[in-house]
């Protein structure tokens, strides 16, 4: 699973920065097109939900998603690994 912030909904209140136990969210530095300082992600693969949601089949932690007043934080399915045929030229 992959953590994403929807920058069309985020209003830059930085509540996620305050609550994340892993400090994944960092205060935004650059305003986006709408003038909102959307928080940045610092190594989001550390998030428990990203790593273990598939294994436990339920949402773990998820405080950032619940506290986000703008419903901007969610997890999306990463496209599964597809084995590709390698052509070896002799």
């Amino acid at each position: 699973m992959k953590l994403v912030i929807d920058d069309t909904r985020c209003k830059g209140c930085n509540l996620c920065v305050m609550v994340c136990p892993y400090n994944i969210f960092q205060e935004g530095q650059q305003p986006n097109q709408r003038g909102v300082f959307v928080p940045g992600l610092d190594r989001p693969e550390r998030c428990t939900n990203c790593r273990l949601q598939q294994l436990y089949q339920r949402r773990l932690c998820g405080v950032c998603q619940t506290i986000c007043p703008d419903q901007a934080i969610r997890w999306v399915q990463e496209s599964p690994f597809e084995p590709q045929k390698v052509v070896i030229e002799y």
């Binding site: 209140c13 930085n14 619940t66 703008d70």
Partner: protein
């Protein structure tokens, strides 16, 4: 289904100010509703007038956006006509305690089987920051420029005294506890009242030296006193600080309820 499926995606982002906690409470409510497996067609959200009362507009279920303070009488009507429906009322402090105060105590007295979620931002946020009955003592608003000198309403005590079955108070920072409290309230027959203290950085914080969301949340967190701790302090005979408000499940009982399907 998940809580995200209850949102009207085409209406988002909502109009609440940056940092307003009303969205958090909608998240918690929808998560609780969703975890109980309620259907969108059997759920009705009712609201009055105010910032908080815009919440049902972002939810897919049927909803009633009613006149100021009269959300509870409308909800009573819905519940009496359709006992199978699950009725949830979103309301604010100005809506519930100021103009709708009388409806509130009578809804608690009748103990109708609805859930009332009061987003108490301690001010009239939508109309420009006038003092409401829940504005704390000493707080500055546009109508109290030298500080509020009246004692605020304690809505949870009022609901308990008037006869509600389940009364709880949390803040918008305590999302896990709030979700659990809403879930308990939804399952309980009779009127369940959940008061949520919510931050309003635009109209309350700006005038009270809590301009950003972080400082408002920190002040809410610091002034919340757990009910268990309050009981312990009382048992030990120690004084309870004046500026603290009690959070937790305050009343949980089984009085006979109105509108419960046999």
């Amino acid at each position: 289904m998940s809580a995200e499926d209850w949102f009207r995606e085409d209406r988002l982002p909502h109009i609440f100010c940056a940092g307003c906690g009303n969205g958090t409470i909608i998240n918690c409510t929808l998560e609780a509703v969703d975890s109980l497996g309620w259907k969108i067609d059997d759920t009705v959200f009712v609201s009055g007038i105010g910032c908080s009362s815009r919440a049902p507009g972002y939810i897919k279920t049927d909803s009633l956006h009613t006149t100021h303070g009269r959300a509870l009488p409308f909800a009573t009507g819905v519940k009496m006509a359709k006992k199978d429906f699950n009725v949830v009322v979103f309301t604010g402090d100005g809506d519930l305690s100021a103009i709708g105060g009388n409806h509130f105590i009578h809804a608690c007295r009748r103990n109708i089987d609805i859930t009332v979620i009061c987003m108490n931002n301690q001010i009239y946020g939508m109309t420009g920051g006038q003092g409401s009955p829940c504005t704390p003592k000493g707080a500055i608003s546009t109508t109290t420029p030298y500080g509020m000198d009246e004692t605020p309403f304690d809505l949870c005590e009022l609901a308990s005294a008037a006869g509600a079955n389940y009364v709880a108070r949390w803040t918008s920072y305590h999302v896990r506890e709030l979700t659990q409290a809403i879930k308990n309230g939804l399952q309980r027959p009779g009127l369940s009242f959940i008061e949520v203290i919510v931050q309003c950085p635009t109209n309350y914080g700006r005038r009270n030296k809590l301009r950003d969301v972080q400082s408002m949340i920190t002040s809410m967190k610091d002034h919340a006193l757990l009910k268990e701790k309050r009981d312990r302090l009382l048992a030990e005979g120690k004084p309870i600080p004046d500026d603290m408000f009690v959070v937790g499940t305050l009343t949980d009982r089984n009085r006979p309820a109105l509108g419960v399907k046999e």
